[in-house]
Point group: C2
């Protein structure tokens, strides 16, 4: 990774050493990741790290941008449900693997470190943008109305992963991913993200489109 950044190979060696060292410490589950430890592991003086990256978060940001440059194969199977499901499984792999700790560390630093906040924000702005294609394709296919807010739908699909990663710590397994995808699909199909609705009745009234109320009572099983 990190195809030599300048042909000179000058201090690019230092850069590579630091990044691989940081990466190594991360995957080893080092919760106490620190600049000094990274420098030591890289066989480099800490001042070099500080001068080049200014921050621990700077190093982590460079690591993250490495992942960002990997092309993600946005699913396009021709079926919205399948696309969403595969997308969710993709997100799951991104969250549970190595980048998970990276994201956690950066998100944790974000409130106090504007640079970290910007890195996280930018990373997911791009990722979410790519994911919107799944919804856009469904719109193009006529499965969804043109007014569909793809961004909002992707947000609903992705959010539960962050909840489990950053707040609650429950397993992010495949069933969870599938269920999350199904929830997003259902909301999309129900027109939740298609703001072509009437003037919006105030809070007390029924929010349901009055016509489509089939009194759904799926077989009182058991």
């Amino acid at each position: 990774m990190s195809a030599g950044q300048r042909p000179g190979g000058r201090s690019a060696r230092v850069r590579a050493a630091v990044l691989t060292a940081a990466h190594g410490l991360l995957v080893d589950g080092y919760s106490e990741l620190t600049v000094e430890r990274i420098a030591q592991a890289a066989g480099v003086n800490k001042t070099s790290v500080y001068r080049r990256w200014t921050d621990l978060e700077g190093v982590l940001g460079d690591l993250l941008s490495e992942y960002a440059s990997e092309v993600v194969p946005i699913p396009d199977t021709g079926d919205l449900d399948t696309d969403l499901e595969e997308l969710a499984l993709l997100v799951r792999r991104g969250m549970t693997g190595e980048p998970g700790d990276l994201i956690t560390a950066l998100a944790a630093a974000a409130p106090r470190n504007p640079r970290a906040a910007e890195i996280v924000r930018g990373f997911f702005a791009e990722r979410f943008g790519l994911a919107e294609a799944v919804v856009d394709h469904a719109v193009a296919r006529g499965e969804l109305p043109q007014s569909t807010d793809a961004r909002a739908a992707i947000e609903v699909l992705g959010a539960p992963f962050f909840l489990r990663l950053l707040v609650v710590d429950e397993p992010i397994d495949e069933e969870f991913a599938r269920r999350t995808a199904a929830a997003a699909a259902a909301a999309l199909r129900a027109g939740v993200f298609s703001p072509a609705r009437e003037p919006r009745p105030a809070i007390g009234a029924s929010t349901l489109p009055p016509a489509s109320r089939p009194g759904r009572q799926p077989s009182p099983s058991r």
Copy 2:
């Protein structure tokens, strides 16, 4: 707040002073919240704070438990959609107000501080548990099947708020809250959280309950 904790009023005064000082610094938007600063604002020596709370996060945890003890009026209007919407608006108020910064600070500390992680986890375990009542009531009313996973539904309802609070920083406004509630409602109605489905057809097949596919295409407006 904090109705005198022991009648003796002994060093409970210190406790109260520290908590109100911390609260004050928080609402003033002090991003660099520190034990020493709190102690100084409370007119108390920092050792007292460290001895009693051990951590900055300990203080924040006590502050949070103050909010936790406030009773939240879980909506119960008789209609699932309305209940979910009001619930979402309730969550919004909790996120955007003072507790928002508190939650952010604790969530940020969580990856490095097990105590903080436990505080956040416990707080939301309780809150989510309360919110499940909304779903349970709908089940009791017969609006939803008995096998409905209330917890999963609440997770989908709440998650987007955390995404915006902790990762992306986009406004958490009322429209967002309403849309999020509608998404959860749609997923619930579609049976996403009612695991009474057939053996689960592998990935390619349709994930929809085949019967309830009205080909909904909400009036191709515009």
